[in-house]
Symmetry: C2
Subunit: 388 residues, 2 copies
């Protein structure tokens, strides 16, 4: 930490009470490694954020989550509004106090969930009305209100309220969504007032590069402290997604954090880092962890398989997580076969640790200008193993 | 620890590689406090054993389980035979290595489960044939084989294979069960050969005191290193159970550990300690923990209730467990309402901690000859609150 203070240069991006420092840029790609400093410590980039939809990364107590190497997690505003409600969290003293996670937190704006989960959705230029997927209750979300809610939830990074169209979507609908996303981003920016929180803009535009170009241009003019690529990982092929990320990550301001929402598999992550992305979130490590699917340094391991019945080695011999230090494949397999909660718990811990070790390897490889070697290695292990 | 070594007296009961030392006896009751030393450390008595039916205390990783104050846990031979099977556990190096729990373990003999869970049960003088409750597979258990299986599982304390009749049962059936239990206990004793394990005898006889008398007499003649009262907590009233425990705990050898199987609520525990019981096991803290029922120093708290929505205090202000140090009633309630795994995890941790704190208070009160005060206090809180 002391070292970082000493080498802090004029290139650091500072806004409000937060700071982004790029420590090294890979000489052979757009990959860069750095650190974001928030009111709740710092997180190193490229960073992977485990998803804590409803105020908990499923099955992992905060202390064990810290041990996975996670420094920032994600919470879903949409879910938290529905249950327990923003009043409860605010009165608890904010999301950190409520959940017991004292590292950094990012909340999304709910835009994605409104468009993927909510029923009877009616969108207009001012916002969205929809029925809760829990009890059908009609809820109205508008950009100003969503920003105020996120101010009250108290995450370190909050997201502008955007319109996230499904995929595929025709040009006209995508254009409308981009126009609303830009209009709403302005409102969010005007309303946002806590200087210990960063508000990020979200670039939409589906796979239409001219729409994404417009969106980038307008949002950059608004001078957000960070930018996300949204509307991806919604059903399009990995190839099409990669083209968008390759083109648009570098178009986002170089001195600010760049966040690729909802991505992804190890290959997607290393490729996107090489394009210049700094932040990721994805449910895969925990969702797959609950289904007996282990991410390992030699590829996927489906622990329910008979072949692991007498396998007393760790899930991943190259992993030093709590699960791999203490338990065998045979034991975790047993837990899954009998339906014991401890199976999902241990495998979620391992999978999150796997992703954090990947991020660590990525950061190290960038420092050594060897990101391309790591990208190749990850492709060799995970190519043709995207389905999970 | 050093103190215990210094005051170790000729009164210590030593058998094989294990030892039971009584440190203090309450001057106003039969309650006593001491320590059992096993190959996996020591556990203080009176001891409460959380139940780890299938090789895990549900939802609690071993490190957090240690933090609850648990020093010995229970595993169910019947369940472990079915899944993953004794071969897997033996090849893993035994139950401790397989499960990652390095404290002491007791395995029951499966007698209780055979009679409560198994289908198509056929009992004869040599053993029991039954269909597995999992897949209908026909399994035969006989006392010699059950002992060998427990030798292979490798717990520190193992139990003789007994016939545990249901309640109510007529005198003739209860008598038959006692006769078989005695005959089988002899076989178990002959077969058992690992001197780092203690084999306990189990006293049956339902509520018929003359049958229990016979059973005690015969089993004591066999000189087991410890004795359990079995066949209780199977549906009889607390009052009837208490009468049996009050009469028969003192009839078991005073220098050896006495174990009351499957009990119970806080009142049952303190009352039984006063009768001279040293060991307990019960699923209540974890089962209730999965259902939103908290044990607290002021009685039960049903966390799903609306009244806790904005209650940001700990589940129990007198508790210093991981859950109470870090999380609020409002948060744990939220987790239960949205169905997040972390709810059962945290509340199981708290409830087990509550039971371990109760045991700690019991041990302390015995040292101070104040057990009767504690018994009264526990009755005041829990009387009329047996249902859960």
């Amino acid at each position: 930490m002391a070292v970082w203070c000493c080498i802090a240069s004029a290139a650091n991006y500072v806004s409000g009470k937060m700071e982004f420092e790029i420590l090294h840029t890979d000489s052979n790609s757009n990959g860069r490694t750095g650190v974001v400093r928030t009111a709740h410590g710092e997180f190193r980039t490229p960073a992977f954020m485990p998803v804590g939809t409803r105020g908990t990364v499923k099955g992992i107590v905060p202390d064990l989550l810290k041990q996975t190497g996670s420094e920032i997690i994600l919470g879903n505003t949409y879910h938290l509004i529905l249950r327990p409600g923003v009043d409860v969290i605010e009165q608890a003293g904010g999301l950190h106090k409520f959940t017991g996670w004292d590292g950094s937190i990012l909340t999304d704006s709910g835009g994605f969930q409104v468009f993927s989960l909510a029923q009877l959705r009616k969108i207009d230029d001012e916002g969205v009305s929809f029925s809760s997927h829990i009890d059908g209750q009609v809820i109205r979300l508008e950009p100003a209100e969503v920003t105020r809610i996120q101010n009250r939830l108290g995450a370190d990074i909050i997201m502008a309220f955007d319109e996230c169209p499904p995929w595929p979507v025709d040009f006209e609908k995508a254009k409308e969504a981009v126009e609303r996303t830009i209009r709403w981003a302005k409102i969010c920016k005007e309303v946002h007032e806590r200087d210990e929180q960063w508000l990020f803009g979200i670039v939409q535009g589906s796979l239409f590069t001219e729409l994404r170009d417009i969106c980038v241009q307008e949002l950059v003019a608004l001078d957000f402290p960070g930018y996300a690529l949204g509307g991806l990982s919604v059903g399009e092929s990995a190839e099409l997604r990669k083209k968008i990320v390759d083109e648009f990550a570098p178009k986002l301001p170089a001195d600010k954090p760049r966040y690729l929402m909802g991505v992804g598999m190890p290959i997607d992550i290393v490729d996107s880092v090489a394009s210049g992305i700094d932040m990721f979130d994805c449910v895969l490590p925990t969702r797959n962890g609950r289904n007996g699917y282990a991410f390992t340094s030699s590829g996927p391991v489906k622990l329910r398989n008979e072949q692991y019945k007498f396998d007393f080695g760790p899930i991943d011999a190259n992993c030093s997580c709590y699960c791999c230090r203490k338990f065998s494949r045979a034991y975790v397999r047993h837990l899954f076969l009998v339906g014991e909660m401890l199976g999902p718990i241990l495998l979620s811990i391992h999978n999150v640790s796997f992703f954090q070790k990947l991020m660590n390897d990525i950061r190290q490889s960038i420092k050594e200008n060897k990101l391309s070697e790591l990208v190749e290695k990850v492709h060799n292990v995970w190519e043709d193993r995207r389905d999970c």
